[in-house]
């Protein structure tokens, strides 16, 4: 019954070159960083900033729903921060329920007498709508996938993206995003607010790498899931599947210098009785110059 003692539970490390975050009162990584560092307050009910969907052509911008705009904003943040050609990376789009507005509209329309749904609403209902719009906008023909795992969607997306980076030795864009259901589905499936984050991950370190991430599956009994001390941020973490990565973002948000450049281990929830642990090692300019000198 027991697996061999040399069974592998860790992935080869990957490098993080670009980060995007979007949510209430948060339009980008610098604003998220301020909130996670405690230098700015987080309010779950704060207004959501306007989406930056400059990357979408006009036609697609008109056709895209809210979740697509959120995902495209996040995708653009990560690739631009990583200074990578947007046509280059493969992509993993992770969301528990995708476009909850479109799903609700379709189910409501199908309960009426005429059952008419618009063609555009139908093609926007597929879970890979965001990846479709993004790749059209960027003329990107690399493999893209769209995944889900309910409250564990963020960990599942991280794992799938990291496995692609390691196995295929390619850069991978990871976008994790959720928007709330409108009534009446909000009662059955509460999603607290709109939130998302994005990473551009690479198999090798580049001059834009900000951290090294080493993922492992670990027994939950050995490593409890990280929580956040700020009640508003903790409510975000528990209230939105896409925000389950907040402890990881918090570790990345810590200001570092050479003296404090140590590895932080972050624990996120995964399929019980295991958790997803990430050894996060920041890459600072100081480390760069040391390595260059040696």
């Amino acid at each position: 019954m027991n697996h061999p003692s040399d069974a592998i539970s860790s992935l080869k490390p990957v490098y993080l070159d670009g980060i995007g975050v979007f949510g209430p009162g948060i339009a980008d990584w610098s604003q998220a960083r301020a909130v996670l560092n405690g230098s700015a307050a987080f309010d779950l009910d704060a207004d959501v900033p306007p989406f930056n969907v400059a990357d979408l052509p006009g036609t697609e911008r008109r056709r895209a729903g809210k979740s697509v705009k959120l995902a495209v904003d996040l995708a653009a943040q990560a690739v631009h921060a990583a200074r990578i050609d947007p046509a280059q990376p493969a992509a993993v789009f992770a969301s528990t329920s995708g476009d909850t507005n479109v799903l609700t509209d379709i189910c409501a329309a199908l309960a009426t007498d005429d059952r008419l749904i618009s063609p555009m609403r139908f093609h926007n209902s597929v879970h890979n709508a965001a990846s479709g719009y993004w790749t059209i906008a960027q003329s990107n023909r690399q493999p893209t996938t769209a995944v889900a795992l309910h409250n564990l969607t963020a960990s599942a997306g991280l794992l799938e993206a990291a496995i692609q980076v390691v196995s295929e030795q390619i850069p991978v864009l990871l976008v994790i995003y959720d928007i709330p259901f409108p009534p009446p589905l909000d009662a059955a499936e509460p999603i607290a607010t709109l939130f998302g984050m994005s990473f551009l991950l690479r198999p090798e370190r580049t001059e834009h790498s900000v951290a090294q991430l080493a993922l492992s599956l670990t027994a939950a009994s050995e490593s409890p899931v990280d929580t956040l001390s700020d009640p508003a941020l903790e409510a975000l973490r528990t209230g939105v599947a896409a925000a389950r990565t907040l402890p990881l973002l918090a570790a990345l948000a810590i200001e570092r210098n050479e003296a404090t450049n140590i590895t932080h281990t972050v624990t996120l929830d995964y399929v019980a009785p295991r958790v997803l642990t990430l050894d996060v090692t920041a890459i600072t300019d100081a480390v760069d110059s040391m390595r260059n000198a040696s």
């Binding site: 618009s118 890979n128 023909r141």
Partner: protein, 415 residues
């Protein structure tokens, strides 16, 4: 244990690296042709379609569907009652065929419950459950019946989580939902998961079941035929929608030396063209097929049969023909089996991968059912009559909305 499946050739440029084949040690399939893979094989051999005039619920659409009989009477096991919905009933019915349960139990015993992964593709999951609940909304408050069990029935990981709990596994789990390529891509993710070493076996599968969203949605796009679909035909008038569930057990070859069949290659791409219309010249489709050949280390002439995506929509079949013709010329026999099963959407990838495996096992090339006159514009070799001859390697295409493409190559494993 830690032997890498990564090949010697490094990844460079745009060419996908060749890969070591993966063992497909067991597989099972259920759809409108019947429960278990023998039902599909027999129907293929007898050229008997599973498509019938639409008789699903109260849906009055002038179309043919591939409905699985008797799901209404096959609830999921009591202990997983919250998961009960048409989609998981179909998944469970498939799991119970072809000795698949025993094979999973053996893998679990051999490797450990945490070393068996579950990766399932679906397009619409159990949305029918929510669609029907909307008919029962409270007339005053608009509230849905409670509890809805949304997570267990409709959320996209409903089926993989059902499968995981059905077998009491604790390995990695994933739902892939990329429209009609969903359950082809499970093979790619499964291969990578095994290659990473995070598991020792993968239950890779797909399940999609009839629902109002797809029947009325494809009707709104005027993509649904009013007769059984006729792939590659001059007068093809659109798709017939079906439902299906299939599962394959993937293992590394050294740990499954008795396996005769395997996954030789996969290729993934997107069109970057349009949300619901394929690139007219099939550029993304060609890229997916080329990547699959590269990974398998094979040339076009090594493929004995191509199971086309072949939906019988005007644009898909035309674009796919161009892509296939550019890569394979007019020699490799091609056909679509959607005239038998209908287009099973998110389950099409696993359905046609398993049909490909059956074709290899039984030396069968199924001629495209319902196709009377091949579109004269087509230049690929569309087969109209069944042929019996040795088939060593099959390429299977699955293309979806969002321009999402996946091609798989299955084949005999050399001993």
């Amino acid at each position: 244990m830690s032997e890498s499946l990564l090949p010697i050739t490094p990844t460079s440029g745009t060419k996908s690296p060749a890969m070591c084949p993966l063992a497909i040690s067991h597989f099972t399939l259920s759809n409108a042709l019947g429960f278990g893979k023998a039902a599909t094989l027999t129907a293929l051999q007898e050229r008997r379609s599973g498509l019938k005039p639409c008789d699903f619920l109260d849906i009055a659409l002038d179309t043919y569907i591939g409905r699985v009989a008797d799901l209404e009477n096959l609830p999921v096991v009591d202990r997983l009652g919250a998961f009960d919905c048409r989609n998981n009933r179909l998944a469970q019915a498939a799991l119970r065929q072809d000795g698949f349960e025993l094979a999973v139990q053996a893998a679990k015993t051999r490797y450990g419950a945490d070393r068996v992964a579950v990766i399932v593709g679906t397009s619409t999951s159990g949305i029918l459950h929510t669609e029907l609940a909307f008919r029962e909304r409270d007339p005053d408050t608009g509230a849905l019946p409670s509890p809805l069990h949304y997570r267990e029935t409709h959320e996209l990981s409903s089926a993989p989580e059902f499968v995981r709990q059905y077998f009491e596994l604790t390995g990695p789990v994933l739902s892939i939902s990329t429209a009609c390529s969903s359950s082809a891509k499970v093979f790619a993710s499964g291969w990578r998961m095994l290659q990473s070493g995070l598991c020792d076996a993968v239950i890779a599968g797909g399940v999609d079941s009839l629902c109002l969203t797809t029947l009325y949605g494809f009707s709104s796009l005027e993509l649904v035929a009013n007769e059984p679909c006729r792939p590659a035909d001059t007068h093809r008038g659109g798709i017939s929608i079906g439902e299906s569930a299939g599962f394959a057990l993937l293992e590394r070859r050294p740990q499954a030396p008795e396996a005769a069949l395997g996954l030789l290659g996969y290729g993934e791409s997107v069109d970057a063209h349009h949300m619901s219309t394929p690139h007219p010249d099939g550029l993304g489709a060609e890229l997916a097929m080329q990547r699959a050949l590269d990974r398998a280390g094979l040339a076009a002439c090594d493929i004995d049969y191509i199971n086309l995506h072949g939906t019988a929509s005007r644009t898909n079949d035309s674009a796919e023909d161009k892509a296939v013709s550019r890569l394979f010329g007019s020699d490799v026999p091609c056909s679509s089996t959607k005239g038998w099963t209908g287009h099973t959407l998110g389950a099409a990838g696993i359905t046609e991968a398993i049909i490909g495996l059956l074709c290899i096992e039984h030396g069968l090339i199924p001629g495209s059912l319902h196709t009377r006159q091949v579109d004269p514009e087509f230049t690929s070799h569309i087969v109209l009559d069944n042929e019996t001859r040795p088939v060593r390697r099959v390429l299977s295409n699955s293309f979806g909305f969002g321009g999402n493409n996946a091609s798989l190559i299955m084949g005999q494993l050399d001993t």
